[in-house]
Every structure is written in structure tokens, then in C-alpha cells.
Subunit: 344 residues, 2 copies
DNA sequence: CTGAAAGCGCTTACAG
DNA sequence: CTGAAAGCGCTTACAG
């Protein structure tokens, strides 16, 4: 401990009690909502606390209450605007409930992570796993330690885990129908991470929609949810002799890369020569330079559902787990040819 | 406390000690890097810990060491890609030093904030104030409580506070010279938040650069660092009879809105009819659809400097404060007319 | 309503 | 190297 630290001795409840002429318990009660204190005591304590600049120590409080009021959030891919938006909304809602976020930026590919082990040591009350490849095994371990885990934008086969997602399969299916109604005959798909449930569900719905109209499994390339990956995937698809007339990208972030490559490297017009559709409906999809048709993820309802699940589960950990699926909708803009009478 | 919670009794160092046949102190030492334990003891303890799934309680540790190894980060404007990028880099670097981030999404306009008061209760070891209007008074209060504060991407007149910024004034000045060299005669400026130091410094440099060439103070509109605000500011500027031939936007996020409005609402070609320049050099500036000329902020060095300052300051709080200014550079792309022989 | 006291799960002198 | 013990700053029965 360096010399400099000593000069800042923290103000404790004891210091306040001494100045206010009460017991330390009384000070604690004044700062505990719902505890019984007389108006007189409260006043004396508040005056003393104000004078000393007292701030209750949440760490000490957590130790004894065994609730830290901290939620760990694991995220990656923050350059996909969907995630910062989620983070901001989640933080706002959690703060409104009196919870703080301990942020954990996960390695994008690791199944386990030493830092998350570290985070667990802070006795977090719950965990939100968003956009990570962290194994379900880890999530299950947390559950066993009594810590609720919500998989955000990701499902799992494990029935013991909570999850909140958009209706990915229906989204993919809707996009297939939209493209077919628009007269496209050679649709292609750019996949995100193959192991992710979002990619699997979106692709499944898309392929099923095409199959229902008698089309074969679409052309396909993998973009790994990254900008550069999607650009390269687009090049692969557009270099083909019989190139696709539409590309559905597993998210907007990749769809933007796809449009850039189509227009600026291949000189194609969107949507005249090529229709492009994304998924998420993030901010940049609305930018006039892209005007991207996209299937929306209902971000605010998803965040709200996540917070609700967490609160319920912290209240009663024995409550049965469930997955929540929230409906999005196709947001039709200018990046894909519009069918004449499209009605959803 | 609900019934369900009880079934998950936490495993403590005492449980491990009992199983391992050692004292609780020994268990603690095994998990304290640098503490002296025999190989034999270490082995017994590790075996028992593994068997029980023991994880040291960081909350209890923090209480006694008086160091939480948590850094509070206050942010807003996460839809400006600069900030998620900062957050991700900051989190990575801090995690590498064994620190975690307690995220605090600030109200964009409040000078003080009840939630930040809450965050302070967690005995954070340091605070990074990025992109907020939180008052310097608050920052000073934290300093007095012995908690180092770094203003990120923001300066202050207060000599008692640390800050890390890009060279905003030089950036604005460079942009002015670049536009002048490109033959522009009616440059305009779209301001961010007028109260922010970044806006003030960028604008000052820009205005000075124009003045040195004999130009008057440029036309000006305020975009408040928001997309819609910048769109409206652009409309104001372009509706004028004698419209500008170049617009410098105080950040890239606004420059993108500006380009969208210029092209899609006013039918202008960029850069033929109008040059647009931004600041930050965020990801979307590189997207082919915008190809935005921008003055870069050296994000990684800024984050690295922030972490270094924090570490130094936590090591020795009496160390004199200093501001760090890191050089960026003009990244010339296609959104602004290029001077024939531009050499920086 | 109020205070004294126990205890949350650790770290760290201290003595051996 | 090791253990017993004090103590970090709180909350919360318990008794008054």
C-alpha cells in the first residue's frame, strides 16, 4: 500500500454515527429503504452524513446481504451496432432497477474464458451472455452455482437455460417469401458464424421458404458476422458465372459490406441488378446511403424481457426456465426489389 | 430472502480448508499471488478447491484490501461507433491488467447523476469519464475521495484532473488547410455539443486555419453530435442561397448524416458539389458508401494512455496530474475534393 | 424506534 | 511455511 493512499481514509457509518450521536446501526437503517427510523434520528444522521460526505460501502453491503446488485454482461462484436444498442438499453433498464453492469468483452471464439471466471468472483447476481461463443457448459455451471443466466440473441438446446431471441426462423422465412414475390430466382445466403443459433435459425427459415416454392438450397458463402468476411463472401458469390439476383445476409452489418462490394467493386446497382436484405434493422440500415431492407429484432422488448426474466429468477431461482421469442417484422426499404402487392 | 436461494450455499475458503486439512489462511495464501505456501499445501488446497468448485469471493477480498479492481466507465452516445470501439479496447486492456469495468451509461445532458453516485458506492478504484456532460465538479469530488478520474476525449480547465484526448485543435486546423488547398471558398462547420471541449477545440482550429488564409468565420449550424441533429443542421446550411462548398462536421457520425442529406435530399454530388469532412475516423468512414475523409483519433494509443495514467495514479495518488494529447492525422478519402499537391 | 453484538468471507500482521 | 486472530464496513436478528 503506497503512502499516498493513506491520506484518503474512507468515511464509514461509524464516523457518521459518532458525529450524529447515534449508533452505527441507526446510520445503516437510515440508508436502508424500508427500515424503521424516527424522523429525528434520520435528520441527525443525514446531516452528519452530508457534512462528512458519507457514501455507504456497497461492497460491505453485498458481503452481508449476499446480493451484489451487479449483473455481468458478456459481449463481443461491438462493431456491429446491434450490440452497443443492446448494451445501452440493457444498462438503462438495469440501472432503473438498481443494478449495475460489470462488462465483460469476451474473446469472440473461446468456449471458456479466464476473465469470465474472474467476473464470477464478484458474486454477480446474474449473467447475460450476448453474442459469444461461450459454451453452454459454462452457463450450466453458473446455474448450478445459483446464478441465473440469460442467453441473449442466442438459444440453446439446454432446457435449464433462459434465452431471449427474435423470431429468427420466421424472419428468414419471411425474407424468402419476399424475395420470391419480388421475382428473384437465384437467391443466395451469406452466413454468419455457422455455430451460432441465430445463423442456423435464420438460414433454416430462409431455406425452408425457398423450398416451399420449389427452389433448391440457395447458394451460400460464409461471412462469420464480420465486415471483411462478408465482403469476401460477396466477392465469391458475385464472381460466379451465374451470379445470384438476391443476397440475404445473416445480419445488417454483413449486408452493408455486401452492398459496398456489389456497388463499388462489381459496379452493380442495388436493387436493380442485385437485391440485398439484412437482419436486425440496426441504425445504419436506415442511413440513406444503404436504405437497407431488413428483418427487425425488437430490441427494446428483448431487453425488457431479459430484465424481467432476470428479476424473476433472482426472486425465485427454483422457477422453471423458459425461452422467450419476440416477433420482429420485415422493414421494407430500397435495397431489395419490392413485390407489387406485398402484404407481409 | 426466498426459499430457493438457500439451496445454493456458497463454497468458502473455510470449506476448502476443512476438506484440505489446512487452515483458512493457507487457502487464502494459495489464491494470493506471491504469498508463501509450500508446494504440498498448495496441492492439497487446489485439490480440495477443485473438488468443491471454490471461487474466491472478490467482494470479501475488496473489503479488506480496499481495492476493488473495478474501474467505473461512464459513457453515452453509444450509437456513435467511436464509443463502442473505445469501450471494447478499454475493456480488453483493463482486463489484461486484472481490472473489470463497471459500466455506467450516463444521461447525455445531466451534469450530475444519481446512478453515478450509486456506482461510487462500489468503491471503484478509478473512473473514466467518456463522452458525458458530467460536471468537472463531480470529477473533483471523486479526486478528493482519492479516486483517480480520467476524462477521456475531453479536457477541462481544472489542473487537478487527468485527461486523454486527440489533438483536436490541430485536426481542425489541418482540415481548414486541406479544404483551402482544395480551392474551397465557402466552408461551413457543423458543431457538436457546444459545451464540449472536443467541439470547441476542433472548431477553434478550423476557424483559425481559415482566418490565416483571410477567410471570415465560417457558416455554422449545430448538430449536437446526433444523427438527426446533424441532418437538420445540414438542411439549414444547404437551403441558403449561397450554400457552402464544403462542410466540416465535428465528428464522423454527423458527417454521415450530412452526406446522406446532401445526396438524397438536395441531389448533390459529393465531393463534386460539396466536400464533407468528419472527425474520429470510425469504422463507417471506411465504408465504400461514404468513403469519408476524416481526421483520425488514435484510439488504441488513447486507450493505452488512459490505462497507464490510471495505473500510475492508483499506484501513487499524490503524483501530479497531467493531460495527454495524442496525435491523429488526416485520412484522405473520397468525400472531399483533393488538392493537387497535398502533403499534410 | 434503538443499540450491542454477531457475522458476511476474506487478508494480513503476528508469533511460532 | 503455517495457524489463530483481528478486522474490513456493513446488515440484521435480538432484546429492550
Amino acid at each position: 500500500m503506497s503512502k499516498g493512499r493513506e491520506i484518503f481514509r474512507r468515511v464509514t457509518a461509524n464516523d457518521v454515527a459518532r458525529l450524529a450521536g447515534t449508533s452505527q446501526s441507526a446510520v445503516s437503517r437510515v440508508f436502508t429503504p424500508g427500515a424503521s427510523v424516527s424522523a429525528e434520528t434520520r435528520e441527525k444522521v443525514m446531516a452528519a452524513a452530508g457534512q462528512l460526505g458519507y457514501r455507504p460501502n456497497a461492497i460491505a453491503r453485498s458481503l452481508i446481504t449476499r446480493r451484489s446488485r451487479i449483473v455481468a454482461v458478456a459481449m463481443a462484436y461491438l462493431n456491429n451496432q446491434f450490440y452497443p444498442d443492446v448494451l445501452e438499453a440493457l444498462s438503462d433498464r438495469l440501472q432503473a432497477h438498481g443494478y449495475q453492469i460489470l462488462l465483460f468483452t469476451a474473446d469472440r471464439h473461446a468456449a471458456a474464458d479466464p476473465v469470465l471466471e474472474q467476473v464470477m468472483r464478484y458474486q454477480v447476481d446474474a449473467i447475460v451472455l450476448a453474442s459469444t461463443s461461450l459454451s453452454s457448459a459454462f452457463a450450466r455451471e453458473c446455474r448450478q452455482a445459483g446464478v441465473p443466466v440469460v442467453m441473449f440473441n442466442r438459444t440453446t438446446d439446454d432446457p435449464g437455460l433462459l434465452s431471449v431471441t427474435g423470431d429468427n426462423e420466421r424472419g428468414g422465412h419471411t425474407i424468402a417469401r419476399f424475395l420470391l414475390a419480388g421475382g428473384h430466382r437465384r437467391p443466395a445466403f451469406i452466413a454468419g458464424l455457422e455455430a451460432s443459433s441465430t445463423n442456423r435459425d435464420r438460414e433454416r427459415g430462409f431455406t425452408r421458404g425457398l423450398a416451399e416454392a420449389g427452389l433448391a438450397t440457395p447458394l451460400r458463402a460464409v461471412g462469420h458476422y464480420s465486415f471483411e468476411g462478408a465482403a469476401e463472401a460477396t466477392r465469391q458469390l458475385l464472381r460466379r458465372a451465374n451470379r445470384p439476383d438476391a443476397i440475404f445476409c445473416a445480419n445488417d452489418h454483413m449486408a452493408i459490406a455486401c452492398m459496398d462490394v456489389a456497388r463499388h467493386e462489381f459496379g452493380l446497382s442495388v436493387p436493380e441488378d442485385l437485391s440485398v436484405i439484412g437482419f436486425d434493422d440496426v441504425g445504419p440500415a436506415r442511413w440513406a446511403g444503404y436504405d437497407l431492407t431488413s428483418y427487425s429484432q425488437p430490441l427494446l422488448p428483448m431487453v425488457e424481457a431479459t430484465v424481467t426474466l432476470l428479476m424473476e429468477c433472482m426472486e425465485d431461482p427454483s422457477r422453471p426456465m423458459r425461452g422467450v421469442v419476440l416477433e420482429g417484422q420485415l422493414v421494407v426499404r430500397g435495397s431489395a426489389r419490392r413485390p407489387a402487392g406485398w402484404a407481409g
